[in-house]
């Protein structure tokens, strides 16, 4: 296992470097630039701006300087659009917000999704199953861009229970709606995967044997069914977790959280190269890391899996 982890890490580093290089090239291929505005800038002003951000260097040198800055100094540079902020500051401001509501959404989605899926599978074809499936379908057909304004309408306008947006680490009332809106559709997917996987496991020979031996049903479920049924769920959870904690532009827009998701989209639209690269690297690194963690978890759950 240790050797496997080392091998994966050895592959991860060039993968990340390739991601940086390709993102950098793609970014520069996009029409327009960070200083494209309604009015063409005087050549002298444009030249100064380009010099200030190193955009007048050849592309290979820009990439090299960027890699050195990121790898050696862990400095993602200044934002092109927010002159008084560095990318490090923007990520440091936005990422904790996203991590908080994304992490809570993940936990919520997993707890409710797995519970719904397991319950539906155990009481297969009963009213409980139908109810659980109904809830899942309902959650699935209410994507977060529908859920978000709906929640604001209900909890803020009609009942005045929760703030309609904004963010505060010290006041959990700001977290409730983003978490619900983000968790709902993921919860539905987790419930569906869990249910079908659980049904498959419950119909397998070793479960039949356990029941035939007279083992109580709850022990059958917990000791013999749950663990193998979780394998497909876990493989789904890795990338889901990354996408949840690295921001949802919809949640950021509707609840004005100041999270990293909106910052990423804005950086693309504003051609804020530095922020774009910073967030790309963050998401890339987290994706690689969590895919690795999922593989390790897999091996722990199913000892037959060896890498």
């Amino acid at each position: 296992m240790f050797a496997f982890v080392l091998r994966r890490l050895a592959v991860a580093i060039p993968t990340l470097l390739l991601l940086i290089v390709f993102s950098f090239l793609l970014m520069h291929l996009a029409p327009g630039g960070p200083f494209t505005g309604e009015r063409a800038l005087p050549p002298q002003v444009l030249a100064n701006l380009e010099a200030q951000y190193g955009l007048n260097d050849p592309l290979w040198l820009q990439i090299w300087n960027y890699l050195v800055s990121v790898v050696v100094h862990f400095d993602f540079g200044p934002s092109f659009v927010y002159p008084d902020r560095t990318v490090n500051q923007l990520i440091a401001n936005g990422f904790p917000v996203t991590l908080t509501y994304g992490g809570l959404s993940f936990v919520t989605a997993v707890i409710f999704g797995v519970s719904l899926g397991v319950v539906a599978a155990i009481w297969h074809n009963s009213w409980i199953d139908y109810l659980a499936v109904g809830i899942s379908i309902g959650a699935q057909v209410l994507p977060n861009f529908v859920m978000a304004p709906l929640l604001v309408l209900i909890f803020t306008l009609w009942y005045g229970l929760l703030p309609g947006g904004g963010w505060s680490f010290s006041d959990p009332s700001f977290w409730v709606m983003p978490v619900i809106a983000l968790a709902t559709s993921y919860m539905a997917s987790i419930a569906r995967i869990t249910r079908s996987s659980m049904l498959e496991v419950l119909g397998s020979n070793h479960i039949r044997t356990a029941r035939a031996k007279g083992m109580p049903e709850h022990r059958v479920i917990i000791r013999h069914a749950l663990k193998p049924a979780m394998l497909p769920v876990i493989s789904y959870l890795g990338p889901v977790f990354v996408s949840m904690i690295t921001g949802s532009v919809v949640i950021d827009i509707y609840f004005s959280t100041g999270g990293i998701g909106k910052a990423f989209v804005d950086s693309a639209l504003n051609r804020d190269y530095a922020v774009m690269m910073g967030v790309t690297i963050l998401v890339g690194a987290l994706t690689i890391l969590f895919n690795l963690l999922v593989d390790v978890l897999y091996a722990w759950i199913d000892p037959k899996i060896r890498y």
Partner: protein, 533 residues
């Protein structure tokens, strides 16, 4: 030196304090004086030299104060300058500054203005609004921006701590009107030199406005607190001002209705319902922007658009009334001139297509197209480019439908803003959606756009038009000149003007003092107060 006293200058010369904000009879002040307004997006910069957007300007008007400020109707009234004198030749303005302090207690001096203006035109500052000082015709601004002269050669000088002298290259009738713009605000040299780009962070920012920056959570909210050092602090009632970012207009409206915001823009199409339901809250006032479809007549432009008859046919057949009454529905007005109808002293030329019934317009359009060799059997094929926005999309679809029956086949091309502006600048478009908002309340802010050396993305050029605008710079009466300029635009049709904007907002009736007659919607939190509900 000859003193020129305009209505506002008379006030200035008397050096009266700005009119104190007072509740009207029967109004009781609320115990908590707070105002929360809506921001669509994060404020990019609080540096007057680097700001380029409306949200930034709104914030900066609270943090700093320029030589002039605007009253509720948009007229210039004294800000930092208590009076000014103009030389006989109209080239030299001498301003006397009031006693005022920065928020750190240091006095505001003429040198702060000199430093700020020089900083704007210094190429190293890379100010995207350096052109504004060129527009003001400040001496040597153009050469400095081009790197041909040094910033200290700019036509601005501190004669002493309280006397600022500005020298222009040419008499500029609208010069005083340009002085409320945020680009002209003073900035604190010592603070900038100490903190560099980070000087606008809440922990560092020093301003001379009615408010200080209490906090700025980028993309979430910005909070201003009353500045005790402000020269007129005793007359400022509003204690706290919050700008709250909500990236979705509909959610912002919901939050307004929940009482979280005091002011929000009404999303397109909802004004009729809201004004009926909340007549004391839904407000529509003229707003100094004009919307147009610009025709590319440059080298890269399509052959068909080089024919005036095609352009005129397109302008004639555009049903503006349907656009404003059935699509926008927010009190906007159909545009038959480029200059916004409510601009100070502007009177649009009479006659023209505005007076023609729609049927007659369509008939004339069909005739013109037939003369040019086009029609339903031989359609003109053009691409209409617009930047991503629901309203632009709806209008483009409407235009496409208006033009199709005549034989003008429009392919819609939706691109993001960065691509749109890039293509406008490089002339890589056929017909493009564009809007211009007034930088100051005078017709040239619009008309200059079509000058041969102006923005003029469509590369239209007309010598008479250029001459008229040059003449207007020194003319006693500019009205006939501007009218003729608009007539030329109507004859030559470098663009099809669509509508003149209005500002359509929901405003909490408890908030008083927001201007409703200021065409640029320039508001100052120091003029506001909240009454008890």
């Amino acid at each position: 030196m000859t003193k020129l006293f305009t209505t506002t200058a008379l006030l200035t010369a008397l050096a009266l304090p700005a009119l104190a904000v007072e509740p009207a009879e029967g109004e009781t002040l609320a115990e908590t004086q707070t105002y929360t307004y809506w921001l669509l997006d994060a404020i990019k910069s609080l540096d007057p030299a680097l700001n380029t957007d409306v949200e930034g300007s709104d914030a900066q008007r609270n943090l700093y104060e320029g030589l002039m400020i605007e009253d509720a109707a948009g007229a210039m009234i004294p800000g930092m300058a208590t009076s000014h004198e103009v030389s006989e030749d109209g080239l030299t303005y001498t301003f006397t500054l009031r006693d005022a302090n920065w928020s750190n207690g240091q006095p505001v001096t003429a040198d702060d203005f000199v430093y700020a203006w020089q900083r704007v035109v210094t190429p190293e500052t890379a100010s995207e609004y350096a052109w504004y000082l060129e527009l003001m015709n400040v001496q040597n601004a153009t050469a400095i921006v081009a790197g041909e002269m040094t910033p200290d050669q700019l036509g601005v000088a501190a004669l002493d701590d309280k006397t600022l002298q500005v020298t222009l290259t040419t008499p500029t009738p609208y010069f005083i009107n340009t002085l409320s713009h945020t680009t002209t605000y003073p900035v604190p040299r010592a603070v900038i030199e100490e903190h560099g780009d980070a000087w606008t962070r809440p922990e560092n920012l020093v301003g001379n406005g009615a408010y200080t920056l209490a906090s700025h959570n980028l993309g979430v909210e910005i909070v201003f607190e009353k500045n005790p050092e402000y020269w007129d602090a005793e007359n400022v009632l509003m204690e706290t001002v919050r700008g709250v970012t909500v990236n979705d207009n509909n959610v912002a409206l919901t939050r307004y209705q929940a009482g979280e915001l005091d002011r929000v823009q009404i999303p397109a199409g909802q004004y009729p319902r809201l004004s009926e339901e909340f007549p004391d809250q839904a407000v529509s006032v003229p707003y100094g922007c004009s919307y147009a479809y610009v025709f590319n007549m440059g080298e890269n432009g399509p052959e068909a658009l080089k024919d005036q008859r095609v352009r005129e046919a397109m302008a004639l057949s555009l049903n503006r009334e349907v656009i404003v009454d059935q699509v926008l529905q927010g009190g906007q007005r159909p545009a038959y001139s480029w200059t916004h109808w409510a601009i100070n002293g502007f009177a649009a030329p009479e006659g023209g297509m505005e007076d023609m019934p729609m049927e007659a317009r369509l008939e004339r359009a069909a005739e013109l197209l037939a003369e040019a060799g086009y029609g339903p059997d031989n359609p003109v094929r053009l691409q209409l480019q617009y930047n991503t926005d629901d309203n632009h999309r709806l209008l483009a679809i409407a235009a496409q439908q208006f033009w199709r029956p005549l034989g003008i086949e429009i392919e819609l091309n939706n691109v993001e803003w960065a691509v749109h502006t890039d293509r406008l600048q490089s002339g890589d478009f056929e017909v493009a959606r564009y809007a211009w908002c007034a930088d100051y309340n005078e017709a040239t802010t619009f008309l200059d756009w079509f000058r041969t050396d102006g923005y003029n993305s469509g590369k239209w050029s007309n010598a008479e038009y250029d001459e008229l605008l040059a003449e207007a710079r020194t003319a006693e009466d500019t009205t006939p000149l501007y009218q003729r300029a608009e007539e030329i635009l109507a004859e030559e049709v470098p663009a099809a003007f669509v509508y003149h904007y209005s500002k359509v907002d929901m405003i909490n009736p408890a908030i008083k003092g927001l201007p409703t007659e200021n065409l640029r919607n320039t508001w100052y939190a120091k003029d506001l107060y909240r009454i008890a509900e």
